[in-house]
Amino acid sequence: MNTYHKDLVSQPLPLIGLIGEESQKSLLKNSSFENHKFLSFQNLSKLPKKKNNTKQFSESYQPDGILKTNWVQKQLHQIPSVFIKFFVADDLFNQENFVVSHISTLFRALKERNIKIIFLIIVPFESTIANEQFENQILTIKQKTQFDSRQGSFVFWHESKPKESREAVLINLKEMINRHLKEKIRKVKKNRDFYMKKTQASIFVRLYFKCGFYSEMQGEYKASLKYYLRSYKFLSNISIRHTSQTELRSVCEVINLRILFQYLKLNQYSKAVDQFQEHVSFGKRIELAGQDYKFLSLIWFSQQYKVFANYLELVPTEKLSPIKNCYENIGFYYNSAANYAIERKSIVQTLKAKHKKKLSKLNVKMFHPSSIYERVYDFSNCNYIGQPNWILTLDDPLQVVNKQTEDDDYFRELYSETQFDHSTENLHLLRKAYRNYSEQNPHSERLITTIATKIAKEYFEEGEFKFATKFIEHISGKFRQDKWNNVLSTVLLYSLECGLQLKNWRDFIKCLLELLVPKMNTQEETKAILQSKLISIINGSEKEIQKLKPHEIINMDPHFPISSLISCKVHFTQPHASLNENIYLKLSFESNFPKPITFKKLYLDFNISSYNRIIIFSEDEKNKEVENNEKTEEVNTEKGSIQENENLIEKDNVSNLIFNPNKKSCFKFQFQASHIGKLKIRAIKLLLGDEDGGIYFIWNPFEFNSNLTLNNLNDENFNYENYKKNRDFPNRSTIEILRPLKNFNLRIESQQPAFVGELFQINLILETNSDHLMNSELVFEKTKKMKLFSLDQYNSSKGVKESNETNETNETNETNESNEIIDNKLLNEIEPISNLQIMEIKPQIEKKIIIFVKSEHEGIFDLNIKFKYLHKLLYKGIFNEKYSINFTHPFEQNFNFYSLSKEILNKGSLYLLNKQNFILSSELIMYTQSQLILKEINLVLNDGFGEIVGKSFEKIKSDVNIPVENKKVNGNGNFNDSGEDENVNLKPNEIYQTCFYLKPNSFFQSNEKNNMQKKTIKNKRNKRKSKKQTNYEQEVNIGNIIIQYQRKNVNKNENFKHFLITKKILIPKVKFVKKVLTVDINFPSQGRVGEQLVSEYLIHNHSDNFQKVMVHVSHSEEFLFSGFVDTTFQILPRSTRKIYYNLIPIISGHLSLPSVKIFDTHSGSELTETKKNFNIFVFPTQKK
């Protein structure tokens, strides 16, 4: 806003003229009258002369200009709205005639101009005149002067009452000013009737402007806005034929400014925006023609936008939110202002070059450089707004300009423009735009980028390369991301120059390389120059530029912009190779450099460093190759490549690493596979330059050098995971090196599961690729837990001779034979094998060897086979095979014993008294996977144990003991003896119960005694160790249950056989216990204090011997008793002895009997151990 004159940007205030002595004037000046401007007058001669109202026709019809120059100044600084004339109170009485004549003169003079007057009568402190007297005197004066109260008024200033006096003056002043301005407006409005709206629009502009101005002075903003808008409307109707464009432009600028201020005061911001748009479009309509004058328009537009942006900045941000259109951002106005300013700068530079001579001769006083307000000018002489006269009314040194010719004016303006600091102005505007957009519209990234580009360019032109580089780094990423190569190339050219100026060679090289990329729309000539520059930098031939040290690494990954400069493809010629075989790697480069380019070294990096190779370019042949460039290229790409590169391999030295533009260069390298596994090409490097310095172009660098990061990649949406997946070279950059193919192969087949105690069949299948008959030897590692048997061994021990021919040719025979039941007993007789010799294995025909594994232990065991194959007794190869076998139990066993007397003492134990029979019941739970054919269940008793009286076999479904199917078993345990079914089929997961009824024989009985005695002796020895051990206990092995069964083939896999298996199940030992002494106790359940009770102990001797017993009675305080306290006695065989105790209770209640302990002296065990602490209830003494 500083660019405008303060009269144009501040609110106009009415002027008040003061006539009187200085001391009197100071009364008002010191009384702080706000919003009032005072101007001292000695007399009215200072007022500007009033123009003659008589108008010539030509002038009134079409005035020379739109707004009169100096009019605003006149209103603000020269012509007061109200005069204040000071009188001393005494003068009204003492010098009445003088006062009357003075007032009459002033009245007459000001009436013509319609200026109001206030007569301020100062009443001093010491005045004694009464108010009534004053009023009478004033009435007298008014009558004498023919005073018109509309024209003026009398106001008293009592020095004793300054506040009241001030108020009175203010009220009068306001009334007078309003009256004055209203009359002015009325007068102006009256003039409208004299003019034609269509043809004399410029006069209407002036009239409405005046009205608006007066209203604004009054503080009537709405009214003033209305008048200004009308004025602006008429302005747009003015024909350019009748006035100059610059005048129109300056007038519209002035009016627009006033309108905007009115809107600002009325808080109507969106309307202000609309007005500004209209203003700009009006400005475009009246643009100056001709390129030479264009800069004047640009200045004007730039200024308009800038001023409006400044104006909007004054508005609180929250007030701007209702403005919902594209123009809401202040940045837009700054940006537009900057755009005009940038264009202005470029045009001025062109004009400066064009008129260089003329401008150098020009010797003028400078215009004010940055004020557009003072630049408004026209080349005609007229006292109207829009011309220098209007601006330069008050002693301006530039009045001289009017007298110059048009040409001089133009050059003077151009000269001042050339002296103007455009860059500072442009940067100021751009920075403002950048800041506003960043703050208010952060999502407009591209818009911000565009502004940043302009800032970078300005900095660049100013020579501020560091700042320019910073901005370019920021913006180039966005253009690169959107693939706007045209724009990017322009930006990069700036960056290149910045790098050169700042001697930042790394940035320079990167920019240069990116500019060489084919997609970049750099001119071919420029590209050629750039490449030459690059080569000279690399070679160190550029004087100003230091050699590139250390090496610059350029990532040639497809995601990086430079990657398309040289494309590299690599693949192995085959996907697999055997050890020691030759493998070939093909490499093809396609250069997109504008000119041929020579590399010094080629590095091939593999995942196994022993394969790494460096190919060095031979200097001697360089010239030849360059001369025959095109020829060699053809040779390279076609058949010649192999020959040429075979030489390379020998020398490790390439004769040609020159890549021609848009042509492929192919190489083929030979390697020998020296390891087993994957061979992968990790990275390929090309060196431009030499060991001292240069550039490495690297493909797949992340594998090659983990220190490299993605700094070069400015893409924010970069997906590193995807990148990682794709970063490897495509297919066939990996080769798998395998073992040499085997001549011999061993395969193992089996059918799970394996059961403890059963033969488990394993098929070993041997095959050979050799053309000859092969022999082999299988060596099995010995284990304690497993035994191996071979079918052949079994067969030979059985005496069955098999001919090899039938074995090999007729498979059906083999399977039939294999189904033959193997005799388990026979198997026990033959020895387990530890190795097998297999002779004459025929080529392309599988040889099957059957072995069996048996284990008596549960668990997973490894079968390790060392396999040696030989041809003509010479070992061809050896390898190990490992096979795990899981052995599980085939049955779950559960045994129960019952005596016939149904006295079940303990599970698995029973008392065996005399010749009682007992039942042995066994439960068997079969395992799944296969059904069983049960051939026989038999109980084999140990000698002398007795005989089997009866047997039964039944299936129990689930846990409920309901016999579903009963099977009678004969005395021998064979099912087939019944004559009905030969076998019994057992299904998986079902419970089968078999019972045996045993009768102990006489042999057992006779042995019983001996066994008991033996046990007793043993027990005596162990007595010290365990007192609790009971005598007369005996554990006896009854015998075994032998089951014969065969598994059924469920899967119908005929390769595997199932044999008849004899399973011997040990019956758990049975405990026999015999009791010799027993005690019975009899005693009453209740008693009475003082009355006798009898407790009786009966000791039985069940044995045929004398038994000795010891009795001990403990002391009791609750009873008096008589009988043995401590005694030992013998009991006759098979007799009973009674002991009596007489007890007399002493106290009543629940009492425990005195404890009587009876010991068997033989064994030391207490017979009454389970019969302690008997209680009886004792009543108190009965009352007599």
């Binding site: 479009s281 475009k284 537009s336 755009n339 407009s444 591209r446 565009t450 693939k483 045209n486």
Partner: protein, 141 residues
């Protein structure tokens, strides 16, 4: 209405075709066209093409006035396949319907060009016939 530039931008915002009546100002227009991408993103929220198809009719592809510059007005049109059509005109008053028709026709021309089996997707359109059609459309032929 005076058309000063026509541009077609690809799915990834890359320029496929830029025509400028005044070649001297080409760079200036390129900046404006590039800036217009911001307004495309602002006007069309990120919705999948399928949902977009179901909810919007064909007319919705026309985005209207994107943004003004000090001298020009920029209009936009987003195809279902995410191609962006930009038309820059001078700062004069125009009828929306005219602009809509113009951009619809431009879309038709673009579809013809893309259907050409020799055209590589997302590469700049260099077809002469396409260029002539554009000139015909804007009345420069």
């Amino acid at each position: 209405m005076k058309i000063v530039s026509i541009a077609i931008l690809g799915k990834k915002n890359n320029p496929l075709y830029v025509y400028v009546t005044n070649e001297e100002n080409k760079r200036k227009f390129e900046y404006i066209i590039h800036t217009s991408l911001d307004f495309f993103e602002e006007k069309v929220p990120l919705i999948s093409p399928i949902s977009k198809k179901s909810t919007q009719n064909q007319n919705d592809m026309y985005l209207g006035h994107l943004f003004p510059t000090e001298d020009y007005k920029v209009y936009g049109y987003l195809t279902n396949t995410n191609y962006k059509l930009v038309c820059i005109i001078d700062d004069s008053e125009i009828k929306e319907q005219e602009m809509k028709t113009l951009l619809n026709n431009l879309h038709t021309i673009l579809v013809d060009a893309i259907c050409n089996p020799f055209y590589i997707t997302d590469e700049p359109i260099t077809s002469k016939i396409f260029h002539l059609k554009i000139l015909d459309l804007i009345g420069k032929k």
